[in-house]
């Protein structure tokens, strides 16, 4: 028994603890810095891992002296709109490709997969010129319109995998009874694939929440920034870094995604592994 425990300690507990320490430490640091006062933060004689006196100054500064809440609202709005557009269109496309099996459906499936592989780094410059020509420069609309380009391929691919698992007989029965494609789609397929839709929705939401490059390129006025952009561009002035409020912003900006994620972890993991196995 002691030998078995020792083995388990070396092979399991110690590596696990080290990995968790590595993966979680930045979050601890974020928390500690958020609730410290500046006096304590920049005093090297104190233990930096410990909060001597808790302080809410950083959070207050962030909320009352910067447009942080506005940025949070912008991010939420853009994430919801683009996730909605992506889900609605991907659902139709995934069903069309996976189930209707028309001529060219295979080609479309592969084309959409390759679209997923095209990184924003290749597209942001031409998109910037397009956004400028369309006169939607510096607007949340440009983001809501462009985010679906990287959400749709992923959502479609994920939902195609999901539709594959729904027995064809269900549809065929309903169609034999005279139901139309649309009826079958809305009354049979959509309810049955709710878990898949949820996974895709969570992915779409978190991916838009995380986006940085497009927002940085297309948005310039402070009132239209998203959280990630706002924090980095407005809380760092030249060489002056407001570390306390920055950490508070990183913390508060992560909470919405973390919340969504914590409620639907299983769907998220299922979506991630499902999409990989396809």
């Amino acid at each position: 028994m002691p030998q078995g425990f020792l083995q388990k300690l070396v092979k399991f507990y110690i590596p696990l603890a080290l990995f968790l320490l590595f993966l979680l430490f930045p979050f601890y640091w974020m928390l500690v810095t958020t609730f410290k006062s500046d006096v304590e933060l920049y005093n090297l004689s104190l233990n930096p891992f410990y909060i001597y006196t808790w302080s809410l100054t950083n959070v207050e500064h962030l909320i009352f002296d910067t447009p942080f809440l506005k940025w949070l609202y912008n991010t939420l709005l853009v994430s919801i709109i683009s996730a909605f557009i992506s889900l609605a269109t991907s659902l139709l496309a995934a069903y069309g490709i996976q189930r209707i099996r028309f001529r060219g459906s295979n080609f479309m499936g592969i084309a959409i997969f390759f679209c997923y592989l095209v990184p924003p780094t290749i597209l942001f410059i031409p998109l910037a010129t397009m956004v400028f020509k369309l006169k939607i420069w510096d607007s949340l609309m440009s983001l809501s319109l462009i985010y679906p380009t990287f959400l749709i391929p992923f959502c479609t691919w994920l939902l195609m995998g999901y539709f594959k698992s729904i027995p064809k007989e269900l549809e065929e029965c309903a169609m034999m009874d005279g139901a139309s494609r649309l009826w079958v789609f809305f009354k049979v397929i959509v309810p049955l694939s709710l878990p898949g839709i949820l996974s895709a929705g969570i992915f779409a939401f978190t991916l838009s929440w995380n986006e940085y490059l497009y927002a940085l390129t297309f948005i310039s006025s402070s009132a239209k920034k998203t959280v990630s952009i706002g924090l980095v561009t407005e809380l760092v002035r030249g060489d002056v870094y407001h570390w306390g409020p920055l950490m508070a912003g990183a913390l508060l900006g992560s909470i919405p995604v973390a919340l969504v994620y914590s409620f639907f972890v299983e769907y998220y993991v299922a979506g991630m592994t499902g999409a990989l196995k396809e």
Partner: protein, 312 residues
């Protein structure tokens, strides 16, 4: 009576025919298929395929912000391949991708193996492991930026307390330190993707294979090489391909922490193309730099395509 029926028939026929034609068309797979896939097709054509082509065109022009450029052939490319900063960036991009992907693969795989057993709280641990992947990269990068501060880094603090160093480490001000730092952050963020992806694969391995190997007296390395690796290889290939593409085309992690500095030591294609195109205004040149991401993308795409075909 007879007369009456004929008329009714003809009337319904006239009204019904066009309706019937539409409904017949709607029953055809081709038509319905196109209708279902049209919204996605239109969005991707207009906002993905078109800008992709436009990007290639821009790279052959001297477009700058506020002025439509003219065709200048390969001039941007010729300028770039003799530009020292661009050559350094190429080196950085390759180094960054190679080292970061390799480390993510090793550590991600290791963690997946550690977690591949039943224990109390497995679900919770798995959820925690995914956190670095979930949290917006820009935000976690800000935390690392602060962790790597040149004066107040807690790493320096610990090392100084231990008496190992006398002055704080200049994490982001020294070229090689900065390279190591950005790679570390990328690895931190990317491990969960490998771990969670590979865990799903490890679960599918039949445990009796290991038991049989145990009976034959096989060591852990032999078991890993001849049971785990062959089963997991296809999945590992897909995960690695994705990771290579994302790392090669990375942007915000480096832009936030170093902006490509110090002395361009951490510039990769994404950051250099942004810097030249948006703050610098040289859209054509920026587009040409981002086109260099394309070859690696193409190689990855072809490899995946070959793999996908083999799967079928």
């Amino acid at each position: 009576m007879n007369h009456e029926t004929t008329v009714t028939d003809e009337q319904t026929g006239l009204i019904g025919r066009s309706w019937q034609r539409t409904s017949l068309a709607l029953q055809q797979r081709g038509v319905i298929g196109v209708l279902f896939t049209m919204p996605v097709g239109v969005i991707l054509l207009l906002l993905l395929a078109y800008p992709f082509v436009l990007g290639i065109w821009l790279s052959f022009t001297d477009t700058i912000v506020g002025r439509t450029g003219k065709f200048i052939g390969l001039e941007n490319y010729l300028y770039l391949i003799f530009d020292d900063v661009f050559l350094l960036t190429t080196f950085n991009t390759l180094l960054y991708t190679a080292v970061a992907v390799l480390l993510k693969l090793i550590f991600g795989f290791a963690l997946a193996i550690v977690l591949n057993r039943d224990f109390k709280g497995k679900g919770l641990v798995r959820a925690i492991v995914l956190l670095p992947w979930i949290v917006p990269t820009a935000l976690s990068t800000i935390v690392f930026w602060w962790l790597f501060d040149s004066q107040f880094s807690c790493f320096s603090w610990v090392l100084m307390k231990m008496g190992l160093i006398s002055t704080p480490i200049d994490f982001l001000g020294n070229p090689n330190n900065a390279r190591a730092s950005v790679i570390a952050v990328n690895v931190w963020r990317g491990i969960p993707f490998f771990t969670i992806g590979l865990m799903a694969g490890l679960q599918t391995i039949n445990q009796s294979l290991y038991e049989a190997a145990d009976i034959d007296g096989a060591g852990p390395w032999v078991k890993f090489k001849s049971i785990t690796l062959p089963v997991i290889m296809p999945l590992l290939a897909v995960i690695t391909t994705f990771s290579i593409i994302w790392t090669f085309a990375d942007f915000h992690l480096i832009w936030i922490m170093t902006r490509g500095g110090p002395a361009n030591a951490t510039h990769i294609y994404g950051t250099l193309s942004y810097q030249r195109a948006i703050p610098g205004g040289h859209l054509g040149e920026g587009a040409a730099i981002s086109i260099f991401i394309f070859p690696i993308l193409l190689v990855c795409v072809l490899l995946t395509a070959r793999y996908l075909r083999r799967e079928d």
